[in-house]
């Protein structure tokens, strides 16, 4: 099964092996026709209207603003509805450095996102700490705090790279099982169980 978005030919993607692996995982035990069709319908709808949370800490956030403006125009893809409340958003574009003081706030924002939720680590700082990795007050990547779906490298990434990243997320959404979920949500649960919020009893 070729998973792609409307405006991009399948061969133009750089990492089809990864998506193919996901598809294989998804089809491993066979799919019920009715549930499978429903999944496809729901995923089609979800993957074409991904709403971001307005969340930016530094430089990458400005490129995200450019992404929203007329030239790069993310409205073409259905991502333009940036919400200021995490409860209305689908994914979080972590645009910028996450420092010690921000970590609890950031984790809370993530926990407040409504399921199903996704995270894109945008830029070197969010991925690994970037140029500030050796600092005393910078988290070395957000991968230890929340489960990350897509990494977009760059310092900051160009808007085109961000578009590619969000389209990649949209592809991942298409190969998800919404009913009787297996592939993604369970991994997320495992991650969250392994990384509990300190000082909070569930």
């Amino acid at each position: 099964m070729e998973v792609t978005t409307k405006s991009m030919p399948y061969d133009a993607w750089k990492d089809n092996e990864y998506i193919e692996k996901l598809v294989k995982e998804l089809n491993e035990n066979g799919t019920n026709v009715i549930v499978g069709s429903l999944d496809k319908l729901i995923n089609w709808g979800r993957s074409n209207s991904i709403w971001p949370l307005t969340f930016a800490t530094s430089c990458c956030g400005i490129e995200f603003v450019s992404l929203g403006a007329a030239r790069f125009d993310m409205a073409r893809f259905g991502w333009e509805v940036a919400r200021s409340s995490p409860r209305q958003a689908d994914f979080m574009m972590v645009a910028g450095t996450i420092v010690h003081r921000m970590v609890p706030v950031f984790r809370r924002l993530y926990d407040q996102l409504a399921e199903p939720k996704y995270v894109i680590a945008c830029g070197g700082c969010a991925i690994s700490g970037g140029p500030f990795r050796k600092s005393y007050h910078v988290a070395k990547g957000i991968g230890d705090i929340v489960p990350v779906d897509v990494y977009v490298p760059g310092c900051p990434p160009r808007p085109e790279a961000m578009i590619y990243g969000i389209m990649q997320l949209s592809r991942k959404m298409k190969v998800e099982r919404f009913f009787g979920g297996v592939n993604r949500q369970e991994k997320q649960k495992e991650f969250l169980a392994a990384h509990p919020v300190e000082g909070v009893e569930d």
């Binding site: 307005t54 450019s66 403006a69 921000m102 706030v105 600092s135 005393y136 919020v197």
Partner: protein
């Protein structure tokens, strides 16, 4: 310049002159407050603007260097004060009663060095958690991540702040006082809020719709750039300048390059100077464009963002062709610039200069004259000239209050002295004036570009500099004009390849600190107008 220190010593015999590159005096802590009062109030000195407080750790001593500027005589002097007490409880007397901005600056020094300021009304940490172990900018700071781990647990909050005093035996006494009054209703705005322009947090005490007091809470993007720089060679420190105020990337880069060149005695070519100044002014236009876009968006005019970003994209294209990046250019380097200009640079700049006046006219037609915009901005958040100086609000925000504080005019660096441009100064001091000031500055920057675009001299764009750069022992201080105001840099070298101390004095910290003062008694909706018109960039506040 040398006679300023002599004058101070004559008026205040307890002070002694410190030999060095810049005029500097030193005084014992017990006499410091008296000297500070004299420096501010004496008719011949009038140092009414506290530029920055540089905390220092000279391993055997802790101390501070206060940089003061006289807005009347246009002189700068440094005052070095060593901390009294032991290394565990060092203290210096506060000057928060003389310069309003000192409250915030002293908190910063306390946060980084643990120096307590006697008499400061609010002696909390500024950037780091209350329970942070150690003082990161001290030379013996233990960076072990186990001491201060990354934690998802919410940090401890307190409603109290500390005030320190000296008892009759000379011991430091701590007293807890409330930040807000006991029955205040406190609303939390930020750190994740679309109108705070980043991760800034205001704890706001309100009385109905009216603001009673704002407690500024920063540090949500504090990345410890100053400490990082101490472990990097001089050319490596440059790239952090791009990542503080990312709109002033060229300006900040230019500033640090100039400072290092001054210290190392490197002369750069005229071509490199012209290129640097052109890039600075292009940045300024792009930065003000984004200000107009986001500010209008905060006030509800979302369409303006798209209009304003059109010009910004055009400028980013010019920069991309030459520097290879849309942001964080890393273009200026010690000795000049990294690459030569792109072949169609001149043509592109001319195209920009052609459309810019039309665009500015359009913005004015759409927004400036709009009755809703005028009602929301005129007379809102008035900052007087005296307060602007006392709170060290520089840049277009300070100039809107009638303070001519453009460092390009006061201390002309690079080729600014040869250029013909006007310093935009307004007198109203309200949000509208701050907005209009930036609009007009775009025109002035365009004027500078028009003068230079046909006169880019031939020559080399980068002179040869030694691969391993060692600066002589000494200290240097310099003020330049970023897009948002006076950008101060203090560099101390111990003769090594790395800076001993690089203090960055950003314009945005005082601009955020003044918000409390000018929003008192205003409506809570005006907080967005006022904060937006100050145009602070949070990573620049926090560094």
């Amino acid at each position: 310049m040398a006679n300023i220190t002599d004058k101070i010593v004559k008026l205040f015999p307890d002070a002694t002159v410190v030999e060095g590159n810049d005029p500097m005096v030193t005084v014992a802590d017990s006499r410091w407050h008296d000297l500070a009062a004299l420096l501010r109030d004496n008719e011949e000195l009038k140092f009414d603007y506290l530029v920055t407080i540089v905390g220092m750790d000279w391993t055997e001593h802790l101390g501070c260097i206060y940089y003061l500027m006289s807005t009347e005589y246009n002189t700068v002097v440094g005052v070095k004060v060593l901390a009294e007490g032991t290394r565990e409880t060092p203290y210096i007397h506060s000057v928060a009663d003389l310069w309003a901005v000192a409250v915030t600056y002293e908190r910063e020094v306390f946060d980084f060095f643990g120096i307590v300021f006697i008499g400061n009304p609010d002696m909390r940490r500024l950037f780091l958690n209350l329970d942070w172990k150690g003082y990161p900018l001290r030379k013996d700071y233990d960076e072990d991540p186990a001491l201060n781990p990354v934690s998802t647990e919410s940090e401890r909050q307190t409603d109290f702040t500390d005030v320190y005093s000296l008892d009759e035996n000379g011991n430091v006494q701590k007293k807890e006082v409330r930040v807000f009054e006991k029955d205040d209703f406190v609303v939390n705005i930020g750190p994740q809020h679309p109108a705070t322009h980043g991760v800034l947090r205001f704890r706001t005490a309100v009385n109905g719709e009216e603001i009673k007091k704002i407690d500024l809470y920063c540090g949500y993007i504090h990345r410890g750039i100053e400490k990082l720089c101490e472990n990097l060679a001089y050319p490596q420190t440059l790239h952090f300048m791009d990542r503080m105020d990312y709109f002033s990337a060229h300006n900040y880069h230019h500033a640090l390059c100039m400072l290092i060149e001054k210290a190392a005695g490197i002369e750069i070519s005229r071509r490199a100077q012209v290129i640097r100044v052109m890039m600075d002014e292009l940045s300024r236009i792009a930065s003000h464009c984004l200000f107009i876009g986001t500010y209008c968006m905060d006030l509800g005019a979302t369409t303006m963002l798209f209009y304003a970003l059109r010009v910004r994209e055009q400028i980013l294209d010019i920069m991309e062709k030459t520097c290879g990046a849309r942001m964080t250019f890393n273009y200026e380097c010690i000795g000049g610039v990294m690459q030569d200009l792109a072949p169609d640079f001149v043509q592109d700049v001319k195209a920009l200069l052609e459309v810019l006046p039309k665009n500015i006219k359009e913005y004015n037609e759409i927004f400036t004259g709009n009755v809703i915009a005028r009602n929301r901005m005129e007379g809102v958040g008035v900052l007087s000239r005296e307060d602007a100086i006392s709170y060290a609000v520089t840049g277009p925000s300070g100039r809107a209050s009638g303070w001519a504080c453009d460092m390009r005019k006061l201390f002309p660096y690079s080729i600014y002295s040869e250029l013909d441009f006007e310093e935009v100064v307004m007198t109203e001091g309200d949000s509208m004036a701050r907005f209009k000031c930036r609009m007009r500055e775009m025109e002035e920057s365009a004027k500078i570009l028009a003068q230079l675009v046909d006169n880019i001299p031939e020559g080399e764009y980068c002179v040869k500099v030694p691969k391993v750069l060692k600066l002589p022992v000494g200290s240097w201080f310099q003020l330049t004009e970023g897009c948002r105001g006076a950008f101060g840099l203090y560099l101390e070298s111990d003769g090594n390849t790395k800076p001993y101390r690089l203090k960055i004095a950003p314009p945005c910290l005082p601009q955020a600190a003044v918000v409390d003062h000018i929003t008192r008694g205003q409506k809570i909706a005006d907080l967005i107008t006022i904060g937006g018109s100050m145009d602070y960039i949070v990573p620049d506040i926090d560094r």
